[in-house]
Symmetry: C3
Subunit: 396 residues, 3 copies
Amino acid sequence: MINYNKFFEEIKTLKGNLYQKDFLLTWQKSKDELIKVLLVAEALKHLRDNNISTKCFDSGLAISNFRDNSTRTRFSFASACNMLGLEVQDLDESKSQIAHGETVRETANMISFLTDIIGIRDDMFLGEGNKYMQEVGEALDDGYQNGVLPQRPGIVNLQCDIDHPTQSMADLMHLKNYFGSLENLKGKKIAMTWAYSPSYGKPLSVPQGIIGLMTRFGMDVSLAYPEGYDLIPDVIEIADRNAQNYGGRFKVVNTMEEAFKDADIVYPKSWAPYVVMQKRTELLKASDKEGLKLLEQECLLNNARFKNWECTEEKMKLTNQGNALYMHCLPADISGVSCKEGEVSAGVFEKYRIETYKEAGYKPYIIAAMILTNRFENPVKLLKRMNNKKVKRVKI
Amino acid sequence: MINYNKFFEEIKTLKGNLYQKDFLLTWQKSKDELIKVLLVAEALKHLRDNNISTKCFDSGLAISNFRDNSTRTRFSFASACNMLGLEVQDLDESKSQIAHGETVRETANMISFLTDIIGIRDDMFLGEGNKYMQEVGEALDDGYQNGVLPQRPGIVNLQCDIDHPTQSMADLMHLKNYFGSLENLKGKKIAMTWAYSPSYGKPLSVPQGIIGLMTRFGMDVSLAYPEGYDLIPDVIEIADRNAQNYGGRFKVVNTMEEAFKDADIVYPKSWAPYVVMQKRTELLKASDKEGLKLLEQECLLNNARFKNWECTEEKMKLTNQGNALYMHCLPADISGVSCKEGEVSAGVFEKYRIETYKEAGYKPYIIAAMILTNRFENPVKLLKRMNNKKVKRVKI
Amino acid sequence: MINYNKFFEEIKTLKGNLYQKDFLLTWQKSKDELIKVLLVAEALKHLRDNNISTKCFDSGLAISNFRDNSTRTRFSFASACNMLGLEVQDLDESKSQIAHGETVRETANMISFLTDIIGIRDDMFLGEGNKYMQEVGEALDDGYQNGVLPQRPGIVNLQCDIDHPTQSMADLMHLKNYFGSLENLKGKKIAMTWAYSPSYGKPLSVPQGIIGLMTRFGMDVSLAYPEGYDLIPDVIEIADRNAQNYGGRFKVVNTMEEAFKDADIVYPKSWAPYVVMQKRTELLKASDKEGLKLLEQECLLNNARFKNWECTEEKMKLTNQGNALYMHCLPADISGVSCKEGEVSAGVFEKYRIETYKEAGYKPYIIAAMILTNRFENPVKLLKRMNNKKVKRVKI
């Protein structure tokens, strides 16, 4: 059982201010703020695991806006909102009048009159997703300042073109638990590598999120990908700078093998080539269907040149004592299971399957912590009261 | 801060009975009843703005049935239900077995066993939407009287072919706030005018709702539209009669300019020609796709003859001191923003943009007030208790 | 008014254990367990009818997974969850990444981190639906045992290829109420018969559910269908065995008339031929569109040979004093109403329409009782506390 008092004391020592600030990119937050989110997530998980109600809203709306398909993030967001007492209302753009040329500024206000939080996934187009979230934020500022909205709802990035903070923070929570503490992560080598997949157009946000976040915690981050599969240059710079500022390391290497060498953690995951994502965005804007089809063929052909970028038992032997932790944001393309040839062999995946499920299981609590720290100035006071009151979630 | 006691005294003086009566058309309600809805909406807004819980259902279902696309009304209904403690369950007819020839009578009962309120939007076909709502109501009466339903759920019209009461009542609440009181609206001139739009088939319910309601409050209502864009004759009669009975005025004029002259409020908004809507209903019933396509072309061509029906800075100068309040139910077709040529110039819209957002912001409270007065015989007692108990909505 | 104490005493005498056990097939439950579900459903209905809150979850998620269209079961599940305090989150497989070859094992865990109950409808393919539910269950066991899930969510079968337990149990609750007690059902003759419908591919689960359940309560069950419209042989065996073990009778006859003779209850309902359903499953797996079209034509032609299998006034005269209770799971194919020629004449349906609505009205309570007995070890304690506390559902 957690020692709540000690725990709350720890949160109190952390600086920074998450209150009423959108959570868009982890590198826009101080390290203390990130740790605060982790600790609040842990507290919420402990309360929930002990059947203590974590409701802090008597009523209120949370809006989800998924501009791309989603299962686990959709359910994580729903779970997070439900445990805090918010009801999710999905903005399904296909059922709305938004297609009629309505501006982002207007829609953002129209859905926010009684809204506490907005979760957005927009990860399809390079240069678009994060920009859209910012536009929504500015529209909400405008509405709040002009007396349209009684309060400024917060925004949580549920994956954009640049970062996937609810994923990378859940990954960090998993690593903290797996290795015992954040302290223990210092110097640990993590291999964030591209991997072959027969599918097309996967976002760059997961690898970018990992190299942007793990370098903050003193880890030794190796990024590996085949020629042409670069990430957004700005994020590479951020990872570089983070490594320097936070006592970590960041290196780009050219083979999976090199990245895996002596790694404590491996994260093999497919993504689309940066240049292809750029071209695709242009073709989509121009509604050039023929061009899009050709680009997809070209890209899949190119992908196929790198089928050997698969996380196999053999490659795992290269890792620290052959025993690195395998991570994935799921669903993974598993060779012989979900596809013929994919990111990871069936054997490696099965060995770490339960660990990847646990990794995913932290996401609802991370999202809940992001919401809670956005809406409550003093989360410790709130968590203490929850723990003291001990209202039962299930009325056994 | 509102003086609740004085406020509650005012509600008490109002006659009429909204309890367990569907809200379908504003002209089926007495003036006192309409004022009661306004006051309850204001009370709910004040409580909410002061972080006081307005939950009056511990659990319960609200059903939404959107037979046409919707963003703001969908979210307004969801917000209204959430603030009272009801959970929205959407009746998505595409996912149901209703297509299998199920009768309205049956469906209405099947979804209502544990239901408190049903919100319906059905605005596509002249002569159909309001009729459908009445059929649902009769089916619920039948189910309740025969012991199928433990209670008779209420119905709120979220826009039909005849009226859009949640919109017009929100508009009225906006006018009351903007001009200071309902008393101040007496004698104010409102220009409800057609405006050009490049889109097709917009319902007649907004202009009909406005002329049917504002004539009840002593306003001087001028309706203007090009030849062929008549409204339903019955509603014109109602507006006429209202003007006579409630000390207002109602006049149909032939140009935007004439309507705008000395107006205190302008409401320029596109709608489809009455005759076209009638033809369209017939063609839809006959599934005549070719005919529908031809009708759309014909109608758009006809619309295009009236592109000068645009609310411009120049036309605004005709209004009372050039300073009339611009209103719109949103989304507006803004020239150069959401379309090439539309209902309103970008300059005029931008000047009143925030006001139109505020106008929209009253809708959740109007809907909540309609639900509350439908379900509770003594809303004052309930509101008083909420205000006395002061349960916090957000548990700060 | 119900005598709660006597009622609770009755529940306590029942043996068996529903706690943390999925509800997939009625014949996997002991008779005492089935009666317990009925009694808990009745208690919940009484509490609700008396405006007493039945919330026993402060927060929590219920997942619905409808792999086939649904209106009444969807709303029944939503109602059941809402009355207990659970929020429904729908797993819409078209909006998820499940199409990307994700395994059932993985999805089941991903949606369950904070989930209390999962309701599944999967009734399209013979040999598939129930199997899918079992797979989900095994995945949840695996996740729970491996520390992925903090608890093992329960599963409620909302209709599979074999059984439709929420329907048959609601039907039983209706019969208990109609005839006064379960005791009174002993020896009553029920005619579960095929009936003509112009539609295609209706599941076998309703007739199978009825013969599998009613034989447990000492009823005299006659099953009638035209040649080729057999049910799953295993279920026929179960009905046979049940009749022997529980003092009932089970007989397969060849005409509607023979089944109706002296019946106290008739349940005429269309279903697809077993062989056709088998072929269809194969063709669907092979994506043989041409084959599916041919099969449908063939099947409808075959159906048309049995248009005389209609429940008419004349056939009703054959029943016990011409006064049998007509039952249907709805929607029924009513001749001259929802189709030209169908399962039942308009006259017979209209006479029993209200009874069929009442029959449907028990389903929310049956589902709520299945959830409650799955999640709470001591439902009597819980129901007693609800009745003692008397928290008002509507805060009048």
